[in-house]
């Protein structure tokens, strides 16, 4: 128990730099995505087991709250993916990349790339949301 407290305190209060934040973000996004993926597999499976429930689930997904959540989910998948690639590449092919300056740089670039991928997607999804849920843009 005290270890859990220490760990959470460390996560939050330790003033680590890029690596610390990328570790936390990778972990949080990974967990977020597993949670979503589990639910998603189940709801998709409803198309066979119980299509009525499937439609209900889709209904819920279309709500504004879930819409916004979905936009964040997309960020999670982008960030986790870019960062995961970074980790896999360095670990498998370029251990010298775990060097202080280049590591700091690669973490920052990871975030930038994830944002660059995410922003247009977010824009598009937000637009869809506004069109369908609020009838904007003449939808």
């Amino acid at each position: 128990m005290s270890e859990l407290k220490t760990t959470l305190a460390g996560y939050v209060t330790y003033r680590g730099r890029e690596g610390h934040w990328s570790f936390l973000l990778h972990r949080i996004t990974g967990l977020g995505v597993v949670l979503f993926l589990t639910i998603h597999i189940i709801d998709i499976a409803f198309v066979y087991f119980n299509p009525v429930l499937f439609m209900k689930a889709i209904e819920i997904y279309r709500s504004t709250l879930f819409g916004v959540g979905e936009i964040f989910l997309v960020f999670c998948v982008f960030y986790h993916g870019v960062n995961g690639l970074r980790i896999a590449y360095l670990d498998l092919f370029k251990p010298q990349g775990w060097h202080i300056e280049s590591q700091r740089r690669s973490v920052r670039w990871t975030l930038v790339i994830a944002l660059v991928l995410w922003l247009p997607s977010a824009f598009w999804m937000l637009r869809n949301l506004l069109i369908h849920n609020y009838g904007l843009f003449g939808g």
Partner: protein, 236 residues
């Protein structure tokens, strides 16, 4: 200039829970945090306990958390902090024995667990002189010979906070030092040890260790090299 030093205090003989004492001291920009602590202990509050010896970053006694980050108090200069308030706390993840002193035993136990010594039972050179090693072979493990066992790395590692059984970066660094020494013959044994549950795979490349290392050892890189050696069996 005036510096406010917030110091973590805990004396298990009296206190039930820790507290923070604030000392206001006059300091020069070039002063080390260790100088401030020495001054506090000598002239303000003698009951403050902390470890130190060499005073210039070589002995590894005084690793602690200063403004939230692990460093050696003797290598932390007042001018390097943006604020005039300096918070000093013990290392995270090891039991506090008193004030800034933590129990180092688990740390050394992990260190000992990786066979941190040269193992080579082959006969010595017949002329009784040195074993040969090329400068390149020597260079291969130079970085990890620098470790002073200060524990700044291990106690900055999220995996170690979560589970003190993780051998931690310092032990891996010291294993690396021998695994890649061309004179050593026990790399397989060490890799076997580090391939276990509590070995290298616990490292999630959080990089705090490398940032914290006062000897500027490329800790995460060393860990990555050990992981690779386990995966590929190559020691070059």
């Amino acid at each position: 200039m005036e510096v406010r030093v917030r110091v973590f205090r805990f004396n298990p003989e009296i206190d039930r829970r820790p507290r923070y004492d604030v000392f206001t001291v006059e300091a020069e920009p070039m002063d080390r945090v260790l100088d401030l602590l020495e001054y506090i202990r000598g002239d303000i509050d003698g009951t403050l306990s902390f470890r130190r010896s060499c005073g210039h970053g070589i002995c590894g006694s005084d690793a602690m958390r200063i403004n939230g980050r692990n460093m050696l108090a003797c290598k932390a200069l007042v001018k390097n902090f943006e604020t005039n308030e300096i918070t000093v706390e013990p290392l995270l993840g090891l039991r506090v024995l008193k004030d800034l002193i933590v129990d180092m035993e688990p740390f050394f136990e992990h260190y000992r667990s990786v066979l941190p010594y040269l193992i080579n039972d082959e006969p010595l050179p017949e002329d009784g002189r040195e074993r040969l090693q090329s400068p390149a072979e020597r260079e291969r493990f130079d970085d990890t010979t620098k470790c002073i066992l200060c524990a700044a790395c291990t106690t900055s590692c999220p995996s170690f906070w979560a589970d003190g059984h993780y051998v931690g970066p310092a032990a891996i660094v010291n294993a690396h030092r021998f695994i890649f020494d061309s004179r050593d013959r026990a790399a397989a044994q060490r890799l076997e040890i580090l391939n276990q549950q509590m070995g290298v795979w616990r490292c999630r490349t959080a990089f705090n260790c490398t940032e914290a290392c006062p000897r500027e050892i490329k800790v995460t890189q060393a860990i990555a090299e050990v992981k690779r050696a386990i995966q590929t069996g190559r020691l070059d």
